[in-house]
Amino acid sequence: MRTYALKRLLGMFPLLLGITMISFAMMHLAPGEPAVTGQEFNPKVSSQDIERLRSYYGLDKPLYEQYWNWLKRLAVLDFGESFSSDHRPVLDKVLERLPVTLWINILAMMVIFLVAIPIGVMSAVKQDSWFDRTMTVFVFIGFAIPSFWLGLLLMMGLGVNMNLLPISGIHDYSWQQMGFWEQQLDFFKHLILPVFVSAIGGLAGMSRFMRTGMLEVIRADYITTARAMGVPENTIRYRLALKNAILPIITLLGLSIPGLIGGSVIVEYLFSLPGMGRLFYEAILARDYTVVMGITVIGAVLTLIGNLMADLAYAWADPRIRQGQG
């Protein structure tokens, strides 16, 4: 296990390097280096900003040197300063916004995991029943529904018309006066809609995936053998089959991270949540390039870490991978 973990960890470095290269290329190969040239006439970018950008990226030096210098700064987590009037380091701005985004995404993944697996298993076990058919319809709709539209409808229905749930921000305006537990409750009430909206796409995909996986496993030889030996049907389904069908889900959870992080831009915009996605959106509108680049790199690194964790969890669960036979 330890060698496997080490191997995966080392394998991350080329990927990290690649990520920084792509980000760097994006900044520089975009037509006419738009981050710098052409901004002289952009009222949103002052001449000091351009100077700041020049000095941060060392734009007068050759490309490879620029890249190397940028990489050195990234290595010590220096993402430069924001263009906005506060000129704060990008890292500080991101870190203060990150918790909300992580909360939403982690909760969304838990919801996906806890809801999609039972749905998938039930659909497979009762294949072609009315439950399976209803779920199939839901899955197709879940795939096709624009999450922000679902969010809008829920805001309208549950928030505006029925006044059940808050529709924006993470705190009620009376938050300061609340007791500790009231504050927690208020926080989670504000997260219900965003988490549900973030989870909907993954929910559809995951339950479909679980259903297919379960159907495949149920047809496997060892299940037939178990059945022939008279093992009770419930033991077969929920102990023998489920264990193996659930494995690929771990990888899929890892793969769904980029989608979740990317989706946080829309969810946080829709519900006015002060998270990283919203910061990214504001940075784009303000042409705050250092923040945009910083978050792009951080988002990719977060994805990488998520994938690594998923791989390790998989190896932990499946001895074949751990021992290098997978």
Binding site: I22, P34, A144, P146, L152, L304
Partner: protein, 273 residues
Amino acid sequence: MFDYLKQQPLMLVGGGIVLIIAFLAAFAPWLAPYDPTSINVRDILMPPSWQHWCGTDTLGRDVFSRMLYGARISLAVGFVAVGLSIAIGVALGAMAGYMGGRMDTWIMRSTDMVLCFPTFFLILAVIAFLEPSIWNIMIVIGLTSWMGVTRLVRAEFLSLRSREFIQAAESLGVSPMRLIWKYLLPNAMGPIMVSAVLGIAGAVLVESGLSFLGLGVQPPDPSWGNILTEGKDNIQLAWWLSLYPGLAILITVLGYNLLGEGLRDVFDPKLKS
């Protein structure tokens, strides 16, 4: 033909939706009851009625007409973006799968790297450097969605190359280009088409999301996404601005997804569970 289609309900329904939406988009100028950009201050935020089937927006423009024209833009973005991503994906996947060796390693490692980026971040970052316009969106979506196709084409090529008819062609001295164009690609066409159709659905969703954020199709050009932005801003006043455009996106994406799934069943009946 029709008997065959009856056995493929997914394709029938999906294809039907796709054709209807395509028809509405193609004939939008003749079907639209109003000019989609004509402002009418006397009819601001009118609820749906016989005059305005889907109501009017904050500038008194007819939402139904705007949605018809929005269909044109969404489909155009979907088709161009997917065309681009298929072109890139097929070229890279064919190179990796046909040449193998170091070329394969390089292409697949680069693909893994691009896959690490949350695609939506990547798209938004590029939009931030360029200006949001319909062309830029098409190109950016295309440039950020080729990875799946690359992997798919590579896998298809690898498995095809071990087949006897390809080996026979190779041993007869068929040139590499001819082998790729005449033997390998046609046999990989099924999965490529499936992923193209599903890709259109994805691109329509991404475009609507971008336009919803105000970073996609810019007003006064109508798009399903930017009508929904108005819906969000007027959520207390005008439910119709939020309801209908989203429904249009849902139905369109559903149609392409169903068609894609149906095609998959046709090309690979084994997978049908």
